[in-house]
Amino acid sequence: MITLEGVTKVYHMGHVEVRALKGITLHVQDGEFLAIMGASGSGKSTLMNIIGCLDQPTEGHYILDGVDVAGLNDDELAWIRNRKIGFVFQSFNLIPRSTALHNVEMPLIYAGEGAQRRERALEALRLVGLADRAGHQPTELSGGQQQRVAIARALVTDPAILLADEPTGNLDSAASVEIMRLLADLHQQGRTIVLITHEQDIAAFADRIVRLRDGLVLSDERRETPMETRA
């Protein structure tokens, strides 16, 4: 599903060269629920940008769903983001002044989907349990509800991976658990999920945890009893 091979990323800030990733090799299988952990500065945001095709590696290869992403142009990357990746952000990132339904429809609009757009968007909202909030604007929804709309938007194009960047960072603990259970459910249904977090108890929902430090993989551990099965 996802293969990273010797991925490095170097930023130039003025005359200073920042090596954010120093050679990451990682394989993610179909249907895995992977958490990437690390302190700030460990390179996890950079890694997430590369996995999300928002940025390209300086060196190395990134193969997503059989496509080598390195060397694609902006519009090709936009196509990959649209079809293969579903984003869930820390700050929800819904479009303001647009209804939940319209937000969920948005990826389908850019995909050029016409006919069943509405039905598919409603179906995705139903999946996250918000079908009755389709006509609400983001400001009329709670944080947990907004994040669920964002998850519906991420799912609507039926992407290869769901990429969640600190999805509970702006939520209280009750809503956090609610969102993590939803992600765990989606995983149970066979979704591939990559979760970026720095919180141990959030990472505990995943069945594999990769820890980063200083742009390198520190540890890669598989968990036999992830939290979802214990709960």
Binding site: N49, D75, A78, W79, N82, R83, F89, N93, P96, I109
Partner: protein, 407 residues
């Protein structure tokens, strides 16, 4: 993403900030409205100048004798004594002058006219029965004198409205007798008012048969001017050269340089006047166009603000799969929507404003031209496109990571 979606996106973007969108449109509205209004005022002025010149007879050619030289001293305009009734007859010959409809002779002078205890000094015109046709005069009442009156040297007169007003007060002058330089004349007709030609009051005259004028008032047998009516204003030039040729033959003169007569046509005056009013219209339009450009800069300014404000939204759209052209299209349509709606409202305001101005200020007759509407609207669309491209392109080129990080 198809165009309908793009338009829907752009529309919801604009509706998100109604006051700002409205004010931006106002800039274009004023620009387009001003272009239409000012060009209409210019066109109106041009049309009224042209129609008053045309009122003189735009296909009229005036033939006058050359200026007389006495002992090497140049005398006043038309002081020569070279035109005759034979010249008039020759000009009516269709075989040599096909573009000439007809020609009439004219003698003029000043006359003291008396009726009862009233008297008035006016301009006297001795001519033939075709005078109303050639000089574009209409009769308010009665009739013009006939060919028979000319033949028989009858003492009949047709009065201009100014003369009637000063001599008769409220009375009906038709059939009354009055004295012109102590000779008794009968009034057979009254002209309709023609207004001023700009230099002379065309309503202040007395017309009579040329034969009568010769016999009883002015003496002699010379023709002071010949008025030639060309077939149309377009035919004026060819008519002029035909007239020149006929008169050169009549007077046995070989070259135009030695001619003992001179021509003047209203077409020359009309051309000059059109140039002047055309320049005026252009000037007014140019001033208005400046405000249109200012409106366009307003659009660009607001679009740049909008792009900056919505940087994060652009980042989100890019993250979920918007391509460069999707973002470009969205913002371009927003700016074009502003200019199109502003332009459409501007057409409305400009057109309504023109008719209102025409009603409020009676001396102005604004003439809204379709071409100015099409041009102003087209230019405003073009402005929306031109001033929208830079902000839209800026939005399209934003890097998704930086855009998402923007607070």
């Amino acid at each position: 993403m198809n165009l309908v979606e793009a338009i829907r996106l752009a529309f919801s973007g604009l509706m998100g900030n109604r006051l700002r969108s409205g004010l931006t449109m106002l800039g274009i509205l004023i620009g387009v409205g001003a272009v239409i209004l000012l060009v209409a005022v210019g066109n109106g002025a041009s049309a009224s100048v042209q129609s008053s010149i045309q009122g003189l007879g735009s296909n009229l050619i005036t033939v006058s004798p050359s200026n007389l030289r006495v002992g090497g001293v140049q005398q006043g305009f038309g002081t020569g004594n070279t035109l005759t009734m034979q010249d008039v007859t020759a000009l009516k010959d269709k075989t040599v002058a096909p573009d000439v409809v007809t020609a009439i002779p004219n003698v003029n002078g000043r006359a003291q006219v008396t009726y009862g205890n009233q008297n008035w000094n006016t301009s006297l015109s001795g001519t033939t029965e075709q005078f109303p046709q050639v000089r574009n005069y209409q009769l308010a009442e009665g009739q013009f004198f006939s060919a028979a009156d000319v033949q028989a040297q009858r003492k009949v007169a047709v009065l201009g409205p100014t003369v009637v007003q000063n001599l008769f007060g409220g009375q009906d002058p038709l059939g009354q007798t009055l004295k012109i330089n102590r000779q008794i004349f009968r009034v057979v007709g009254v002209f309709q008012s023609k207004g001023s030609s700009g230099f002379t009051n065309q309503d202040d005259l007395v017309a009579m048969p040329i034969t009568t004028a010769w016999a009883f008032l002015l003496g002699g047998h010379n023709v002071q001017a010949i008025y030639v009516e060309a077939a149309s204003s377009q035919a004026t030039q060819s008519a002029e050269s035909e007239v020149t040729q006929v008169l050169l033959n009549q007077h046995h003169i070989s070259t135009v340089a030695n001619a003992d007569f001179q021509l003047q046509s209203q077409a020359d005056v009309l051309t000059t006047a059109s140039q002047v009013t055309g320049t005026l219209t252009l000037l007014l339009g140019a001033i208005a166009a400046i405000s249109l450009v200012v409106g366009g800069i307003g659009i660009m300014n607001i679009m740049l603000v909008t792009v900056t404000e919505r940087t994060r939204e652009i980042g989100i759209r890019k993250a979920i799969g918007a391509r460069r052209r999707d973002v470009l299209l969205q913002f371009l349509i927003e700016s074009m929507f502003l200019s199109a709606v502003g332009g459409a409202l501007g057409i409305l305001v400009g057109t309504l404003g023109s008719s209102l101005l025409g009603r409020l200020v009676s001396s102005l007759h604004p003439l809204v031209s379709v071409s100015s509407i099409v041009l102003a609207f087209g230019v405003s669309l073009g402005i929306g496109l031109f001033f929208g491209i830079y902000p839209a392109n800026r939005a399209a080129r934003l890097h998704p990571i930086e855009a998402l990080r923007y607070e």
